[in-house]
């Protein structure tokens, strides 16, 4: 295929693990230095491949958390207790190890400045990862597109990139709201329930302003959020979704 020849094959490469960042008790970021990174767009993901000594392999997809402008590649992984790959990435991997990956993959769940807005980002748990890349891209190019992030987490301790998001929210164009579904700290001013239609109606731009919407998280969360947005009158074609896993959130 001509296009494939033009773009080249997505070959596996070994990236050095430069740094590991504990984001929350269950979530860790991995800063990588792939030798031949072709660049990426905010929202894309990579495939990671692990190989055991006897040759057994396991592959999973992970969203890219870093912005195209960052000069390194960062992934952010939530540990699932009974998982095969995520506990390895979240617990076992050390700086100096090498991680095999290929990418970037995906071209639809992508935001870049030229797509405009207003932008509504809706995250459930670790679904915030590709949305962080979009926010960092937005900051890096000093975009004036207005953005709202609605982020649902179980508790404040489980909010990934918490300090960073708070800093970003200082920008005029960026409005960040949290909803804490299980546990709220004393005097919590934000929302304290699962995302529903009413909450989306309150946070989102009116459908008449045609916001561009990105929803990412566990399947059940994405399903419920996207359905509610359509019921509120948002155009299905302006709602882009990424579903991370089988279970509801």
């Amino acid at each position: 295929m001509a296009r494939a020849a033009l773009l080249g094959r997505l070959t596996w490469q070994l990236a050095n693990v430069v740094e590991l960042v504990e984001e929350t008790a269950r979530v860790r970021s991995i800063v990588l230095d792939p030798p031949a990174w072709p660049g990426h767009r905010a929202g894309q993901h990579v495939d990671v491949r692990l190989t055991a000594e006897d040759g057994y392999q396991a592959q999973r997809s992970y969203s890219i958390a870093s912005a195209p402008e960052d000069g390194y590649l960062m992934l952010t992984v939530e540990r699932l207790e009974d998982g095969e790959v995520s506990p390895y990435l979240a617990d076992e991997l050390r700086p100096g190890d090498e991680l095999e990956l290929r990418g970037p993959v995906g071209g639809y769940f992508v935001w870049e400045e030229s797509l405009g807005g207003p932008l509504l980002l809706v995250a459930g748990g670790s679904g915030v990862v590709p949305l962080r890349a979009m926010l960092c891209h937005h900051r890096a190019v000093e975009s004036i597109v207005p953005v709202r992030l609605l982020y649902s987490a179980r508790s404040l301790e489980e909010v990934v990139y918490r300090d960073e998001l708070m800093r970003m929210a200082a920008a005029d164009q960026i409005d960040i709201r949290f909803t804490l579904t299980r546990e709220q700290p004393e005097g919590w001013q934000g929302y304290g329930r699962r995302i529903d239609r009413e909450l989306l109606d309150e946070v989102s731009w009116p459908p008449g302003e045609h916001p561009l919407v990105y929803v990412c998280g566990p399947t059940g969360f994405v399903e419920a959020t996207a359905n509610a947005l359509v019921e509120l009158g948002h155009e299905p074609a302006r709602i882009r979704t990424e579903r991370f896993g089988p279970t509801g959130g």
Partner: protein, 201 residues
Amino acid sequence: MTPISRGFRGRRDASADPSRVPPGQYVTGDFPVLSAGPTPHTQLADWSFAIQGEVDEPRTWTWDEFRALPSENLTTDIHCVTKWSKLDTVWTGASVDTLLDGVDTSAEYVTAWSDGGYTTNLPLEDLTGGRAWVAFAYDDEPLDPEHGGPARLLVPHLYFWKSAKWVRGLELKLEDEPGFWETYGYHNYGDPWREQRYWGD
């Protein structure tokens, strides 16, 4: 040479027959979902299915007409490009052979199109010869909208994005034209046994 991931053992599923799991896939008991946007909810009264494009005469079926066609039960393995495979899934649907019965065409390609604007492209020969269905039931239950209901294409020998959810028609074509995921970096054909996930694989 493939590098060893220090300290990685992996969880091998002893119950899964390795000859049924394509490279890079793992077996799951769940039924994960992959979609680019919201799930469409089409009323059965508004539903129809079309065969169109390079055909002597286009055909359409209403839901009732479609359901009156002969249907088949099948048990098959499915493989999603996001790495999961699910074995022995149970479906009911009308075979594409049934839908194309008596259609005269010189087309070699097909674009399956769906509610919500989704499309996917396949060679016509991959849809015929008892290899593809328009399925309306999963595990003897009406197919959930989340999983493509009221009806989805089912082409189990290719990665599962080719099994277009919410399918509403097949457009027969002389020329191949990449569909939705195929223009966003996914492989044009998508054979899981050759691990054709992305462009150039």
